[in-house]
Amino acid sequence: MNSNLRPQELESVYDALAESLDQAGEQDRLYLVKVALCLANLTGDADAVLNSFRECLEDL
């Protein structure tokens, strides 16, 4: 899988996620988990997904 977004794409993902989180309001956590599950399914690569889960736990 090509895991890199072009800078422009990354920027629009950034904005869209921020706005969706605002829109989700109190349900932002639930929303993030839904997103994580959907994206995990889209990658079809469980190892990469689990690896991201580990990496994101760092520096919280």
Binding site: R29, L30, V33, K34, A36, L37, C38, N41
Partner: protein, 564 residues
């Protein structure tokens, strides 16, 4: 003095019978040495006794109570359980009463978000699942027990102390007429989840307990829903929790729901609370009909097992050996597999035909099964009753996604009790196992086959080593009969089943002929002419050969009996 209540329990559909205490010979100064004493006449204790009796081993069953199960408790029995029950002859009555089913539905916000169908096959006499109240199951098993001359039921007999030495187990039993002592070579502890024997021997279980508590209520109501499992997630009247509904015979429905945190079982079982919640659930599914409560109880989900099911001359089985969450109908169904695994091994050991290793293989095979079940059951439990913030978020996200995304469907899978495999059992012999193209592999139970109308492979299996022989020549069949005669002379029970496409007009008396003209069974078993399957008395395959080698068959049986 131990005197259980002698009034029949109340039920709106089941007529409880009180079984009388009768004074045992030990109380009149006779000292008898029993081969096997079983503590507990729940389904698993009684099934152990029936199974032992099929091997000619007598047993005494001590039961503290004097009636069958209080309330329905286990209500779902799997196909594998039916095969085990068929072996001791109780399925005919179950089939008259029980409700067969195979589908499960998960509902969220009024929508059926996941529907599952357990695979069915015309090759089985039994459907994937049957609903029947535990009282009926126990009654049918008990009827069979009463017909056996080898089983002595002792009601109102409560075990108060257990001690053992190298040769025997000594029990103190309390009864309505006082205490007595009893000695046995072996003790089977089938005394349930709160096993007295387990605590008396200081045996500790390993595993986890979940904090969620659940109400089980059985009500009588006229409902039009089919017999299918119905799970309702996050219903409006019980936010965040799960409600299950299941049909039982006699117009009884089980409603099962989680308690809000912090509520005590007493509060949850109060009449007002039950009525309010059951009515809320019925209203949600669009039902406005009168109903009547039969029985209710509170339970919590636990996944615990003893690490070893044999402690000296005491063997644990059923709930005494492990406590499993009831999601996935595991309690009774697992116990049935336990006692079927145990009985033939203990019987052959007692007869002097097999070493102690065979009894220990019961422990290793079934502890392993319990651990697998605990793993699977843990998954279901974490979905039904999330134990932490993280699990709750994931469960809620899955529910939310389920309204639009099919990919989350499998997360709703309820992982029903299944037949366990023993692929790594020391009782297996590799032989040609790996090269068969199809059929049950080493460690798996045999697969049923429909041979003709109302005639199935399992109808012909004995509580013995079952050898499936495919299209043998007359000379080969002769050799197998010689082997059979030699083994029987050593008290090793053996059943020859000749699966043939050329049925003999005059069948050999010591061979069961299974006619397979179409070759359906041959192909399901990946067998050619001369192929052989060796199945243990509990139906699990121990070895298979593409072509017959009589000496190898004998050696595989010796390996099981640890005589190699």
């Amino acid at each position: 003095m131990h005197q259980p209540d002698t009034t029949p329990r109340h039920s709106i559909y089941y007529d409880y019978r009180v079984y009388p205490f009768s004074r045992p010979p030990e109380m009149d100064g006779h000292s008898l040495n029993h081969q096997v004493v079983i503590v507990g006449a729940g389904p698993i204790g009684m099934m152990t006794a029936l199974n032992l009796a099929q091997h000619g081993i007598p047993s005494v069953v001590l039961e503290a109570d004097n009636q069958v199960s209080h309330g329905s408790r286990a209500i779902v029995f799997t196909r594998r359980s039916m095969e085990i029950l068929q072996q001791v002859g109780v399925t005919a009555r179950i089939l008259e009463k029980a409700l067969p089913w195979s589908r499960g539905n998960s509902f969220y916000r009024g929508q059926c978000v996941f529907r599952m169908e357990a695979p069915d096959t015309p090759d089985s006499r039994f459907r994937p699942m049957y609903n029947l109240q535990q009282q009926y199951l126990e009654e049918y098993i008990l009827d069979q027990v009463m017909h056996s001359e080898l089983i002595e039921m002792r009601w109102a007999s409560k075990v108060m102390a257990v001690e053992q030495d190298d040769n025997s187990v000594h029990l103190t039993v309390d009864t309505p007429e006082g205490e007595y002592r009893l000695t046995s070579d072996w003790l089977v502890a089938a005394d349930g989840a709160r096993s007295f024997v387990r605590s008396a021997l200081n045996q500790r279980m390993e595993g986890a307990s979940y904090s969620g508590q659940f109400v089980i209520a059985d009500i009588r109501i006229d409902l039009d829903f089919p017999t299918e499992r119905r799970a309702y997630f996050d219903p409006e009247w019980n936010p965040g929790n799960t409600v299950l509904m299941h049909r039982e015979p006699d117009n009884i429905w089980r409603i099962d729901y989680q308690l809000p945190q912090g509520e005590t079982p007493e509060q949850a079982l109060s009449e007002a609370s039950l009525h309010q919640r059951i009515n809320a659930q019925l209203k949600m599914v669009g039902i406005d009909a009168p109903w009547e409560l039969d029985w209710c109880s509170v339970y919590s989900a636990r996944t615990l097992t003893l690490p070893d099911y044999r402690v000296g001359r005491v063997v644990f089985t059923g709930d005494a050996a492990h406590i499993l969450p009831i999601f996935g109908v595991r309690g009774a169904n697992t116990g049935l597999q336990d006692c079927q695994n145990l009985a033939w091994k203990l019987a052959l050991h007692i007869k002097g035909v097999a070493g102690l290793d065979l009894v220990d293989s019961y422990s290793s095979e079934r502890v392993q099964a319990a651990r697998e079940i605990i793993d699977e059951a843990g998954k279901s439990t974490r979905f039904m009753a999330p134990p932490s913030k993280g699990y709750r978020l994931l469960r809620d996200a899955t529910l939310s996604l389920s309204l639009q995304k099919d990919f989350v469907g499998p997360l709703f899978h309820w992982r029903t009790s299944r037949a366990h495999n023993y692929p790594d059992s020391s009782l297996n012999t590799a032989a040609d196992n790996a090269v068969f193209a199809s059929g049950p592999a080493n460690g798996m139970p045999l697969e049923n086959i429909q041979l003709s109308e109302n005639n199935y492979l399992f109808d012909h299996l004995d509580n013995a080593f079952n050898l499936l022989l495919f299209n043998l020549t007359p000379v080969q069949l002769d050799q197998m009969q010689t082997l059979q005669a030699n083994l029987r002379a050593e008290e090793i029970p053996i059943n020859l089943l000749h699966v043939t496409s050329r049925p003999a007009e005059q069948a050999e008396p010591s061979v069961t002929q299974l006619v397979d003209i179409s070759g359906h069974m041959r192909s399901a078993y990946g067998a050619g002419s001369g192929s052989v399957y060796l199945a243990r008395p509990d139906h699990h395959v121990a070895a298979r050969w593409l072509s017959l080698d009589v000496a190898a068959v004998k050696q595989a049986i010796d390996n099981i009996l640890n005589k190699a």
